[in-house]
Point group: none
Chain length 304, copies 5
């Protein structure tokens, strides 16, 4: 596996990391159909925790089986597979060495009464299960965000010392943020920036709207052209250390295929590194999902 | 690097510290254009965390890049560069050994619903990244201040044992303090004194106004001439163990160059050790910033 | 340094303590002008934390300097000097071995919004700084008193294992206590007793008034003659294991010299072990303070 | 206890030590009849371990009692008392705070089949027993000397971190050293130097003869005038960082009083810091011992 | 301190190291007269341990004082000062921040009966004393070499995690090596290579002769032109990862100045990084030593 120039350039931005951590980032960046392009598609399956099994899997019953997701990620040539502890444990042996895995180490659920998550995995778990990274969600804006930041701070320091990469899901929620504000451009860029400041290697945020939530930020956005989604993606990428960190965008709730493709084109055109796409994958029949993923790969390769 | 008498005199005030910690203080005091004078200018870039990336950097786009700040601190001959974890990680290798760094180990953000900060870095991070000091903010007056004090107490003890210096940002906020009170002379002097009592090596406070906030303190200030900013600086310095601790003052929000220069002259004339100047640096075009920093250096050298 | 019978008798009351802790108690009891008498005068300088620097030191400017307090404690032949971390660090090397020091390991401040203190020092600090004891304040009656008790319990256990003595400042405040109640005889005796029960070697309380605060305690005090301050002191001393623990009384706010002397005579006549006298010392010009301390020494020696 | 200039000058040589360690050195240097002179006499009673009780104490039966030695050290106004664990434990409470103690933490015995010692005490013991220092013997030249050096290295690091001083007994023995060589000037100076390099605060060696043992060292000694014992002492002191470390000399086997006095005069005149004198003290009747110690004090004071 | 291209190129070879360790290497490479050239001169003063004080210092008496060596290293503009614990402790505060120090953490002595060294310092010592590196000697060929390798392996791993660099003195001795063999070219190159393999950042070896010691290696050296010292230096440098590690050569016993200069020219011409020169410095009068060091600096700068 010779590293391409594109990947080499990305890795060189992680200048304080040890070779073990870089090797795990390289594994993700060199994996599958997009290996070597500097682009990536990650399959996350934590919706069972977030929304319950039936809401997540009933529409496509094979998806109840953890092996299903490993297999589709491998078969579609994706870059990595992310899931909570139990899901990884249920397939880590069968698929050992076949695809980089990201252990989602905190999780919420539909009945949560606070805007927070439980820490449900450890760096030791990641090591014993052969994971390339840990994944962690923070909710900037929430009352408990300082606690969440301290949790990932501690886990990320441990992970870095043993060569495991860190992925932060940064989802603004709670506190004084309005519902629209959660997807606002200024909020999304700020949330991404905080993940970068916390030491994340890969930052996952939602695609932002053109809304500006914070009054104090209005002026800073006056001159910024945010009329297209690609331009908004570009602003988020710039907010992550001027592009020195990998940024991937989530697809959100299941939606029409064309919308999914357009999002990917916008991410690509705005300089984002790729998609993290869960429900839009596993809530479709396998054939459809495979076709969609194939097309997404082509989009990131610049062929469509 | 032969230590000057001015620096030797300052170091001798840290009489309980081990030689490792003193060496790191010496590195800061001997660095750059002001090296050896006993004066210092620190560049802090934690506004991305505090106010978000666009509000911080949109006005001067190159500032989105973490390397920009390392480079300007080096090129302008400043004394040290202070930033949160991600910012330091993004440049610590490229600029290793070129300028002392201060790892800001706690951080707040614009959406915080409590007057507190998250601990986002550790002493181990400071060691692996080659930092000379850790930086920590306390909010005297806030409901959570005891927790914040206990956090820095623990981190500072660890830092001192491994030869890392401690910088405390002491910013009165919250509780029963009025908005005017946050900048009051009595409040600023008290906040600085608490930082000294907590064992800080370098104390960072805001330039105080002539307002006296606390009724119980009125009498104590009756005889104090606080009519000029330099005299108020002198009172804050006196409140830090009669000048036995290094005290630097922040420039606050971006403002006119003349005001920045006057602040520096007042800090100098009042016996303060220097400025910690962030937004007034990186929110200007690089040429302007370099010119301003050059002039500030001259002011501290007594040439202007 | 041959221990006197008076000191020997006091030390024999600490029968569960290891020789290291007793040696530190002996150092305090054998130090200075009162060395060997079983009486002691402690200089505490934590008012900078409690009330701010100007309210504490502006009336006597040299007192801004930490060395000033070490020096006056030594020159006046006092028994020990107590202060928070930064104050001790600022002089511990210069005055190493010259006077026993007590590291005040928790501290409050004028802006606190809860009746509690921050832990600002550790037993490890006490060891590296050569302190003979740690000092800790509890606020019996306050909502947070159980937390404070648990903190000192933990620190005191550690201190005892390494030969460091424990001084507890027991100041009733908060909860259902009235303002008058804070100084009530029953309350003061009860607070002193709780400090003894927590394992304190030296107990510091305020001089009590004749007021009885607790209805349930009225009956118990019916037959007690508390008409003079000396008799009230005697009751507090009796409440500390019938005199088996060292009890010192605070002088409170700065006041007239005659009142200070009368307090000392009452403490002496009531069988108290001495005074802990801060503001009444350092808020006077040095000459006056030295004269006052000299007279206090004579009072405790029974000469005045 | 105001430190004298002589003691202050000595303490300033221990520039890397924390105030706790300096305070314990100060306690030794300010204790007893020689307190403040910069000279010291230490009473060591480890001969019971080395030679057995009868050989050590039968000649003066009260010396079987551990209290006897504490008492004589106090009554004669000596600087410190050094002994193994059991001896210290047997009197540490009775004499707490009366005289600085040095816990001898390794010991040999007459039946040893290797030239080594057992580690028989710990830094924790020193803390709980209120000792000011640990004492440790190394045998430079012995096959096991590297092990011994590593033992004291580890214990001394721990001791320094908690404010306990380190005394090293450096006694050349074994290996290729001849019997005469053990007392040779070059060997003694080298042994003292090694103790200094290991980080000892106080170095204890034997008074050297004029013999030069090492062929390779002959040339270096050609120009050195070693004709008198005082000159040889001066050379040993110079070998301990040019006098930056405290050096005391042992009296060796019991001998005539005049020889003991002459040794002390030579130590004094050569710039040594004092005597460590065991058998010559406790193997004499108490009256004689007290008289001898009184005379030694006078010698070190320059009165005889 | 802007890093030069030469230094940047060297630092880039330490690609697995964290920024803290690189910063310490940078400090050494940017220090003094040779700062920025990629060349360095280190002053080592461990001969007191190795040969005793008189053989080391009698020829130049001021050298008995530890401060003498710090001062000459600073005044002559050398790159670093290396010494055992006691020597560093005796000056670390006075010279804090003035010159990078290397704590020699193992030491032998003239009376050793095995070919080994005692571990006499720790990484914690290096941190508290502000050292940039630890130094460790291995004796390839000796019976105990595996133990020595395991000791430095453990210490070096700890040092790297906290940003401290590692210097290995690799001195072939013992076992089946002949006396001539200790300086043989094949042996020296092999010893240097083992130090590199053990993870050393800086490798210190002796200048090799043209002798080939190992029969099995004869063939490999047949075609190598080792006729000049510069060519032999080049072979050793090549053996250290083709020049990817810093290699310095020792001057050996004190000798004529011309020989010292020729050695330096050969090291320079062979691509070595510099000299580690002890006895040839401190065994000369200070003026002579300063003149010699000045000339050596010029040689490494290519001026002589």
């Amino acid at each position: 596996m010779k590293i391409t120039k594109a990947v080499k350039a990305i890795l060189s931005n992680y200048e304080s990391d040890n070779p073990g951590t870089k090797a795990n980032l390289a594994r993700i960046l060199m994996q599958g159909q997009l290996g070597g392009t500097g682009k990536l598609i990650i399959l996350p399956v934590d919706q069972g925790f977030e929304h319950g099994p039936a809401r997540s899997f009933a529409v496509n019953e094979p998806a109840y089986d953890p092996h299903y997701h490993f297999q589709i990620a491998i078969d579609a040539g994706l870059s990595a597979y992310a899931a909570p502890l139990g899901m990884i444990e249920a397939g880590a042996d069968t698929f050992a060495g076949q695809i980089p895995t990201i252990l989602k180490v905190n999780s919420s659920n539909s009945w949560a009464t606070s805007i927070n998550q439980a820490v449900t995995g450890t760096v030791d778990d990641a090591l014993r299960l052969g994971c390339s990274a840990i994944g962690f969600t923070i909710y900037p804006g929430a009352d408990d965000v300082f606690d969440m930041m301290e949790e990932i701070r501690e886990m990320s320091a441990e992970a870095k010392s043993v060569g495991i990469a860190t992925v932060i899901w940064s989802y603004p929620r709670g506190g004084n943020l309005s519902k629209d504000g959660e997807l606002a451009l200024d909020v999304g860029a700020y949330a991404a920036h905080m993940a970068a400041l916390l030491g994340a290697h890969i930052i996952k945020v939602k695609l932002p709207t053109a809304h500006i939530e914070q009054k104090d930020a209005q002026k800073a956005y006056e001159k910024l052209d945010s009329s297209t989604q690609a331009k908004r993606v570009a602003h988020v990428v710039k907010s992550c250390f001027n592009g020195r960190r990998i940024v991937v965008f989530s697809g959100g709730a299941a939606k029409g295929a064309d919308a999914v493709y357009q999002d990917a084109r916008d991410i690509r055109d705005g300089g984002g590194n790729g998609s993290i796409i869960g429900r839009n994958t596993f809530q479709r029949p396998r054939d459809e999902a495979m076709a969609m993923l194939g097309k997404l790969v082509n989009i990131y390769k610049g062929k469509e």
